[in-house]
């Protein structure tokens, strides 16, 4: 068990190195491949009307003339042991884990990430609760009453749910429940839970439901398919033959076995969302990591983009590890090794 966790953690670190290397490559190696010179890349970071000096300065500050791998090495070193930045006469020490400073706001990346994370976490956690309970319940009932009106109706709704772009459902729900009938506040009114829990809740209801609708649709389909398969297994017949009540057969035997594939998908989905629900945050104006990522990509703020992608990948990898550990709890057939 312990050896397993250690091995998985080493794997996680390797994965993060790979993700950061790829992100680095996208920003520094790909533009070169596409025919841009380092001067042009540096000019992109200077802003409007770059002067020659500013470009030269930026190039030196960012070490753009170094090979990409050297630049990457410096970045990784910063995360591990901290890093010194020479800004003119002053040397600024950035302690580990150092993710660097924003090209745009000059704020430490880590600080901004910590600042933005609660909004995203509130969104993801609330939506996850709704979609897990809703999706699995609907899926189980549909599988048990296969072919019934309930089954057909919910599956049509579920298929529609997965076919709708979330920014569209978001706009429609804002139009219906915020502008036409003023039940919920409009977009861009997110308040931190520490500041005002009631306003926090009100502002997040629509985003939660919109986001959860998409995922609940997916999970209902998954649960239904899984349940239909497990209900045909021999051990279900055995359980029934033993005279167990149907309720126990469904919850303790069938659902438990169908939960493992759902957990796998849930790990990936939640991990990805914790790194920023890009589309939902854009639609509802929630100042989370997804918005930060989009804004940083648009303004070419590489350290910020790297920070968000690393955080997202880290959350995916860590949540996957937790999910794999939970497998052994949920499914007695699974042995970790």
């Amino acid at each position: 068990m312990f050896a397993y966790i250690v091995r998985r953690l080493i794997g996680a670190v390797l994965m993060l190195l790979l993700v950061s290397l790829v992100t680095f490559g996208i920003f520094f190696w790909l533009p070169k491949l596409a025919g841009q010179t380092t001067d042009q890349i540096a000019a992109g970071y200077v802003g409007k009307a770059p002067t020659k000096e500013a470009i030269q300065d930026t190039k030196e500050r960012l070490g753009l003339d170094d090979p990409v791998l050297v630049q990457y090495g410096n970045y990784v070193k910063g995360i591990a042991v901290g890093r010194d930045f020479e800004a003119g006469p002053v040397t600024d020490h950035c302690p580990a884990p150092c993710l660097g400073y924003s090209f745009r706001s000059s704020q430490p990346v880590l600080e901004t990430l910590v600042d933005r994370a609660p909004a995203t976490a509130s969104l993801a956690a609330g939506a996850a609760v709704i979609w897990l309970t809703g999706g699995i319940t609907v899926g189980v009932i549909s599988a048990l009453r296969r072919g019934s009106l309930w089954d057909r109706a919910t599956m049509v709704i579920a298929l529609s749910g997965v076919s709708l772009p979330i920014y569209f459902t978001g706009m429609v729900s804002l139009q219906l429940f915020s502008y036409s009938v003023e039940i919920f506040p409009g977009g861009g009114q997110y308040t931190a839970i520490t500041a005002d829990p009631v306003k926090w809740f009100q502002a997040l209801v629509l985003p939660w439901v919109t986001l959860a609708f998409l995922y609940a649709a997916m999970y209902a389909r998954l649960t239904r398919a899984g349940m239909l398969e497990t209900m045909n297994e021999d051990y279900i017949r055995t359980a029934r033959a033993k005279g167990l009540p149907e309720r126990t057969v469904v919850t303790k035997h069938a659902l438990r076995a169908s939960l493992t594939p759902i957990m796998t998908v849930f790990g990936l989905d939640l991990g990805l969302l914790l790194g920023g629900a890009v589309l939902t945050e854009s639609t509802f104006g929630i100042p989370g990591l997804g918005r930060l990522a989009i804004d940083s990509i648009r303004s070419g703020d590489l350290p910020m983009v790297l920070g968000v992608t690393l955080l997202t990948s880290a959350s995916i990898v860590i949540i996957n590890l937790i999910v794999d550990l939970l497998y052994a709890v949920v499914d007695p057939r699974v042995r970790l090794g």
Binding site: T23, L30, P31, M171, V172, G276, R298, T309, S313, N320
Partner: protein, 330 residues
């Protein structure tokens, strides 16, 4: 898999027993997997409707642009300058006999023309991206599943790594970082190529995993052993024994990957990294709808419904195809 025996034709066989005289015995025919699947699909009205809509959409994307108005022509006389929205029509949408789906707020460009041209971009990108994912995914999946060992280990870990990437962010970063003129292409040709490569390249692990799993189980089947015992080489087993058995899952998951890719392309366009304006795209229209949808809701609803109908049609057809080809499902 054994084909279900179905009775058809009316050729009467020899009937020695006199008791059976007069009883109409029909000839027993075997059917191929394709024929069975087609029979099942033909009974599935919902899937057929999906297929029909898909077919119409493809025709619309290919031939539609030759029949509609110029999607770039401004009709500013139709726009109410105070609210920046169309003057007339249902919900200030500008719908009229001249403009069936209304006009765009601000510019007065014909919506029908923009939707039809948008369909072309959307389907082109999603089809090509799906083709790319399927080619990479199938190749990688077969190699991993067939050869096993360290090859399988490396490819499987690569697939895991891809699944841990924040795809949307990567795609936005990638599309955004490519300048307007690169790799010998420029303008929208470059944009479309970049979109296809980004979407196609990031989606291969999904299909790769499925193909790997299927190959793993096919490799152990008796007919592969039989071919091997007769001296078949790897290449023969791969192409003549395993690949034909993978056609069904490849077909099904390609059909189900297309709608995912349509949504992916629309999301990228919505976030402003799709094809360059003024070329119309469905996601791009929804971006423009954000500031104005409370005063001109049809401008949001029309492209939204275009995406919804297209994606739903592909999903219905894909689901039906899966049920028809895989008797264990449903």
């Amino acid at each position: 898999m054994a084909a279900p025996i179905e009775v058809s034709g009316s050729d009467t066989e020899a009937q020695p027993e006199s008791v059976l005289a007069g009883v109409d015995r029909k000839k027993i025919q075997g059917r191929s997997l394709g024929q069975i699947a087609w029979l099942r699909l033909r009974r599935d009205k919902v899937a057929l409707t999906g297929a029909l809509v898909v077919l119409l959409l493809i025709l619309l994307a290919i031939f539609g642009p030759y029949f509609v108005q110029d999607p770039l022509k401004y009709n500013q006389n139709l726009i109410d300058p105070t609210y920046n929205r169309p003057k007339s029509g249902f919900w200030h949408s500008g719908i009229s006999s001249e403009h069936w789906l209304g006009v765009e707020p601000g510019t007065g460009r014909d919506m029908l023309a923009r939707i039809v041209h948008g369909a072309r971009i959307s389907l082109l990108v999603s089809f090509l991206a799906t083709l790319m994912s399927v080619i990479i995914g199938t190749t990688m999946g077969i190699i991993a599943g067939f050869f096993g060992g360290w090859v399988d280990y490396v490819i499987s870990r690569a697939m895991d790594a891809f699944l841990a990437f924040p795809l949307l962010l990567f795609a936005i970063a990638l599309v955004g970082v490519v300048a307007d003129d690169a790799f010998g292409l420029s303008g929208n040709n470059l944009r479309v190529s970049v979109l296809v490569i980004v979407i196609g390249f990031f989606n291969w692990p999904y299909i790769g995993r499925i193909i790997r799993g299927q190959t793993l189980s096919l490799r152990e089947r008796e007919f592969v052993d039989a071919a091997r015992s007769m001296g078949a080489r790897n290449s023969y087993v791969l192409f003549k024994e395993i690949l034909p058995n993978l056609v069904a899952p490849i077909l099904v998951y390609s059909t189900l990957l297309i709608p995912t890719n349509i949504l992916f392309e629309a999301a990228l366009s919505f976030l402003g990294v799709g094809v360059n304006p003024p070329t119309p795209s469905w996601g791009g229209m929804l971006t423009l709808a954000v500031p104005i949808y409370s005063s001109d809701p049809m401008y949001m609803i029309i492209p939204g419904m275009a995406i919804f109908i297209t994606v739903l049609a592909f999903n219905l057809f894909g689901d039906g195809l899966r049920d028809a080809l895989d008797p264990r499902s449903r």
